[in-house]
């Protein structure tokens, strides 16, 4: 078996960069595709060949199956790596690749389809003996049936897009009052994101943790797991901080969950990299939630603690090589954390922020990894996910890993858009986080007020600005402060002392 000679990367941003680098190290030529707004993006700079997609609208560019497959054929790419998001879990795309004679780097179209339908996936897992969460996964999708079934399950409950992932088309419902509206909205979002408005309902667990297991399986039935990732720190049902090992998973629980994950993968004849997501409740019972049939955003923390390069294995497996890693030879070492750096405003409901990146400075040091898809001068547009980069660190233990991450976040400068960097730091500094007392409600429980609180300009920033402006003497448009009327919005601000110095 030999590796592909040329691979097309059907994605953008940090994951496209990650995949291109892995290919280049292995001597595989890479082809990047890009929409008009991504013309100068890092993944385009890095690739060996590049082909434009035109119109930045996702459906015209990174979701355009026929265009992408045609490009792969034109440039002679033997395989396509889909990254995550976009077409990564689209069974039609995998199928179209097969039809075009281009290898899709991932599991078979059939497995993607099965796991993409969350209802069918749960049924399959139940049959295979993997525990699942109580819920409604029925085919009757009229709103009144869903409302009735929802009431049966009780509150809080989760409305979730059957075809979804990454928080899209997902709603948490705390009472009957908002049930109907939430179901309708989730259906609409699911329809627009995935072209399918099927939703399912499930029990929202007490003190739930989101813990997932990384899987690698070759095309000859060899399947291993690479231990867990604790992904409980979420906002809007999307992960923002992930770590491994989980502070609550004992050796024994790890063994049992790992076996269940491997069983789940084998039950569907899984191949390539994948992730089995579990919900774990306060009593450490675990339930199968879904299987992500692709590389996961948070894969780097597994790489840092196991020493395995998951992307390289994806390429090897897809080119028909056997998995030479053995379960018994794998072990976790140290502790790794990932923080997702988003262009978003945590003080304003985590709304995405757009703008031009004026300045970027990235922390470097031992065991600091920055998987980034941005560069200075780049525009952050509303077309795509606002993920800028993933900052990943590892250290000898959890406490040191947290310290390192706090240091790294404090040295991560992104100017031009609002980011969640300072919010991430606050989460890591939180006493309950440090104790490992985390659930998927962590942000809601401890940061509800913070997210809406306005915060002033700290004195250090004021001093720095004034010094800078005096050094550069660029601020001439300064006028004497007038005692304004009492209804002025400026009333609670500092005023200078006349004759101060």
């Amino acid at each position: 078996m030999v590796l592909f000679k040329k691979v097309l990367v059907a994605n953008r941003g940090e994951i496209a960069v990650r995949v291109i680098k892995a290919c280049q190290e292995m001597g595989v030529k890479t082809v990047a595709i890009y929409s008009d707004v991504d013309k100068d993006a890092p993944h385009v700079q890095l690739a060996d060949e590049t082909v434009g997609l035109g119109d930045p609208t996702p459906i015209q560019s990174y979701l355009n199956i026929s265009k992408i497959i045609k490009i792969a054929q034109d440039v002679g790419a033997e395989a396509i790596h889909p990254g995550y998001g976009f077409l990564a879990e689209n069974p039609d795309f995998a199928m179209s690749c097969d039809d075009a004679g281009v290898k899709f780097i991932g599991p078979s179209s059939k497995v993607i389809g099965l796991m993409g339908d969350k209802i069918a996936a749960k049924k399959t897992m139940e049959k295979a003996g993997v525990p699942v969460i109580p819920g409604y996964h029925g085919l009757k999708q009229d709103v009144s049936t869903l409302v009735r079934e929802g009431k049966k399950i009780g509150f809080p409950l989760l409305v979730k897009a059957a075809a979804g992932g990454g928080g899209k088309g997902m709603r948490i419902v705390y009472s009957e009052d908002t049930l109907e509206e939430s179901i309708e909205s989730a259906k609409r979002e699911s329809k627009s994101s995935f072209g399918d408005d099927t939703v399912f309902l499930e029990k929202y667990l007490d003190k739930p943790r989101h813990i997932e297991f990384q899987i690698l399986a070759d095309e000859y039935g060899n399947t291993i797991h690479l231990f867990e990732r604790e992904c409980s720190i979420q906002r809007r049902h999307q992960k923002i901080i992930e770590e491994t090992p989980s502070p609550v998973v004992s050796k024994e629980l790890r063994r049992r969950m790992g076996e269940a994950a491997v069983k789940a993968a084998q039950a569907v004849g899984y191949s390539n990299a994948g992730t089995v997501e579990f919900m774990v409740d306060g009593d450490l019972n675990f339930y199968f939630m879904e299987m992500n049939t692709r590389l996961q955003v948070e894969h780097p923390i597994t790489e840092m603690t196991t020493g395995v390069d998951l992307v390289k294995w994806q390429l090897r497996i897809a080119s028909g090589m056997k998995l030479t890693l053995k379960q018994k030879d794998l072990f976790q070492r140290g502790h790794a954390i990932e923080c997702r750096i988003y262009a978003e405003d945590p003080r304003n409901g985590f709304l995405p922020s757009v703008g031009t990146l004026e300045k970027i400075e990235v922390p470097t040091g031992p065991n600091i990894r920055d998987d980034s898809g941005i560069c200075t001068g780049m525009k952050i547009t509303p077309y795509y996910d606002p993920l800028l980069a993933k900052l990943v660190v590892s250290a000898e233990n959890r406490e040191e890993s947290i310290q390192k991450m706090i240091w790294a976040l404090s040295h991560y400068v992104v100017m031009g858009v609002t980011t969640n960097i300072s919010f991430l730091k606050k989460v890591l500094e939180h006493e309950e986080f440090r104790r490992g007392n985390i659930t998927t409600h962590f942000i809601d429980n401890y940061f509800k007020d913070w997210t809406t609180a306005k915060k002033g300009l700290p004195v250090d920033a004021i001093i720095a600005l004034a010094v800078y402006d005096l050094m550069h003497r660029r601020t001439h448009e300064v006028v004497r402060y007038k005692e304004a009327d009492p209804h002025s919005p400026w009333k609670h601000v500092g005023r200078w002392r006349v004759g101060g110095i």
Binding site: R188, K359, P382, Y412, M415, P458, L465, A466, T475
Partner: protein
């Protein structure tokens, strides 16, 4: 030198002077005597008493970004005399689009009576949906966008007449 900085609708009045090797900054009735150096373009090292503060400053048009202790703040120098209020009324704020995106659905018609919390419009951006809800009970006076329209951050979606 006197400078006024605007940040999140607040104005900060500062005075600064350079004397010998020190900078004297007066803000909020307190005077700070600091030493400072621009170590790289836009990179400051400031000694305030025993504390060393490192700041990074970038400019984009009239705006400045300042990075201090892991946080970035956006400020503008402002003139106070004759300045217009930049902040909208709170009531209007709830009706402006929180994001640049596309209108996916308009839930009301002109003349409709709505209750506080009712969904008026749904906007989609970055593959997520944002709901515009009525900030108070009222009557729909004007609808500024229709389905599939592009909408920019801060634009008013619907005008409501308060009940």
């Amino acid at each position: 030198m006197f400078i006024n900085y605007e940040h999140e609708n607040h104005v900060y009045n500062v005075s600064i002077e350079h004397k010998d090797s020190y900078y004297f900054i007066t803000y909020d009735n307190t005077e700070y005597k600091v030493e400072a150096e621009e170590t790289k373009p836009g990179q400051l090292k400031i000694k305030i008493g025993d504390k060393i503060v490192k700041a990074v400053i970038a400019e984009s048009g009239k705006e400045k970004f300042v990075f201090v202790d892991g946080d970035v703040f956006k400020v503008k120098p402002v003139e106070l005399t004759g300045m217009k209020r930049v902040k909208k009324k709170d009531e209007e704020e709830g009706l402006s689009s929180p994001i640049s995106g596309r209108v996916v659905s308009v839930k009301v018609k002109k003349g409709d009576f709505v209750k506080k919390g009712d969904v008026l419009m749904v906007i989609e951006a970055m593959k997520m949906e944002y709901l515009i809800r009525a900030p108070y009970d009222g009557k729909v006076k004007k609808i500024n966008f229709k389905e599939k329209d592009q909408i920019e951050i801060g634009q008013t979606t619907v005008e409501l007449e308060k009940e």
